[in-house]
Amino acid sequence: MGAEPASEPQRYFDHRIRWRPLELAFWFATLLPFWLTPTYLVLASQIAITGLFALSLDLILGYAGIVSLGHAAYFGFGSYTAGLIAKWGWGEPLSGLLIAAAAAGVLGYVTSFIIARFRHLALIMITLGFGLLLAEAANSASWLTGGADGLQGVRMWRLLGIFPFDLYGYAAYSYALAVLVLAFLLARRLINSPFGLALRGIRERAVRMPAIGASSVAHIRMVYTIAATMAGIAGGLLAQTTETVSLETLGFQRSADVLVMLILGGAGRLYGGIIGAIIYLIARDQFSGINPQYWYFWIGLLLIAVVMFLPNGILGGLARLVPPRWSRA
């Protein structure tokens, strides 16, 4: 990047939007679990959902530089919306997911007015506080959310009227993967556009962007709304494929986990969140015999090591090893 002359912006974007063989190989590989590990499709669907959630955080954190410790608010909001619609008798998955996305998007749009005004510590505190606020509200409104017991009685109809959500997870993984691919295509298009460039400008130096005529506030509001919508979709998928919603979907732990995954994979890279989710969830599944508290010991050590030695995550570390031709994947 940077080698293209500035007089040819179109060529720059054309170059960036071109699909690389490694990317295509990655997306074909996501189909392998159907044949190689059919007993792990439920886990695979969890990974696809979490990867989508991490991708949504990447849009605001990795590209626009908005540090959020409360991103689970939108995930949980989408989750409860999708769950409640199904509980109230409308179990059609696709339209339910759209409604969940719209609800989370509206919430994201409203909060984006606040988010765009702050930076630094105040921003971290406000996102953290907002996430905690919503979790407390859901806990208090147990008549609606089921409180600590979780939302019971979610019954989904068949996907497209044909495929039932079963214990094996065929429908769940196909559904989650399809949504992930669509969202990824959208994010990829978004990032490799002038809008995406403006976001990176905000990340690098927010005060200078208005000086060159790009209103950073409007851009932040837009990307925050998009990220919230995407997080709501991920939450809705989780509610629909597991047919239950727990308070944990809104909790601080989930916000912290997704941040860890994104950093592990590499923030500011489209595949960072997805790779991070794959590694994190597979490792947790393999070590699930261990007490979860000790699991966090290793995650903590890993975080310290990543910050100290791998500032750009695993993908950033790999990018230094391979020739530059591959490094934009």
Binding site: L61, V67, L69, I114, R117, F118, H120, L121, A122, I124, M125, I126, L128, G129, F130, L132, L133, E136, A137, N139, S140, F252, A256, L259, V260, I263, A267, N291, Q293, Y294, W295, Y296, F297, I299, G300, L301, L302, L303, I304, V306, V307, M308, P311
Partner: protein
């Protein structure tokens, strides 16, 4: 009704003092180096476990454990600052957050491994257990003790910051670290000492907190939020701000729990967000 309001106010004051002890170190170090140290409450947890271990296992008197809680937290914070924190001065908030969240994860897991996940309690001497009657109201003896200790610590802190040469260096570094460096103040050294003192104060606060709020392995997480609220609302580097914010928070939290328990912690978060939206740099903040 008036009596209960008075009692809530008193309990809230004691709770606020506790929060102040836990938070003041973080406020000063954050103001000085702009280092977002989310692991501050891990030091408090360490102090709490030192006090619990010494009183319950070795039968030390409670008062004797307090200095040791201070010292052990301060001693542990020094190598952490030297080895880990030091490398991230001037790094992005995100990196600082991640590093210190990592430390919180490790400390929480270590505490669970060493002490289990049960709530710990501390053995108090008999004169701290009862209550004192004064003007037809009864006050918990321990809470009176807590307020006295916190006021004493505040007095010592303010005096040390206002009237010693080291205090002047700290104030200069908080106000403008670059300018202070230009004047020949070794800001990194000042910061290291302040960091140790702040960690020690958190350790002391942690030891004092066991009786009021209990202690378990998740302490570093549960109180992190409260401490951050105190610092963010009070304003970075402002001791008076932290003091005021801790009192407001302590009283409103107690009042919320007493009068509208169904709201839980909702009220606190609402108060914080509103205050921050009104004044992003905190009540007494200048930046």
């Amino acid at each position: 009704m008036l009596g209960s309001a008075f009692g809530v106010l008193f309990d809230g004051l004691a709770y606020g003092m506790l929060l102040f002890l836990l938070a003041v170190g973080l406020s000063v170090t954050l103001g000085m180096m702009n280092f977002v140290n989310l692991a501050h409450c891990s030091f408090a947890m360490l102090g709490g476990y030192v006090a619990v271990g010494l009183t319950n296992e070795l039968r030390w008197p409670f008062l004797a454990t307090l200095p040791l809680a201070f010292v052990s937290a301060a001693v542990v914070s020094v190598p952490l600052e030297r080895v880990l924190y030091r490398r991230l001065y001037g790094a992005s908030e995100l990196d600082q957050c991640l590093l210190t969240i990592g430390i919180v994860f490790v400390s929480v897991a270590t505490a669970a491994y060493l002490f289990g996940t049960v709530q710990q309690s501390v053995q108090l001497p008999s004169w701290l257990r009862g209550s004192v009657s004064f003007l037809h109201h009864s006050f918990g003896a321990y809470r009176l003790f807590l307020i006295a200790v916190a006021l004493a610590v505040t007095a010592i802190l303010v005096a040390a910051l206002e009237y010693t040469s080291f205090g002047a260096q700290v104030r200069a570094a908080v106000d403008n670290a670059r300018m202070a460096r230009g004047l020949g103040i070794d800001v990194d050294r000042v910061f290291a000492i302040t960091f140790a003192l702040g960690g020690g104060l958190a350790g002391l606060g942690g030891a004092l907190a066991v009786e009021i709020v209990g202690l378990d392995h998740a302490f570093a997480f549960t109180f992190l939020v409260y401490v951050l609220i105190v610092v963010a609302v009070g304003g970075l580097g402002s001791i008076a701000g932290s003091f005021a914010a801790a009192l407001v928070l302590g009283v409103s939290d107690m009042a919320g729990k007493y009068y509208v328990p169904e709201l839980g912690a909702f009220l606190i978060y609402l108060v914080m967000i509103t205050l921050l939206m009104w004044r992003p740099a905190g009540l007494f903040g200048r930046r």
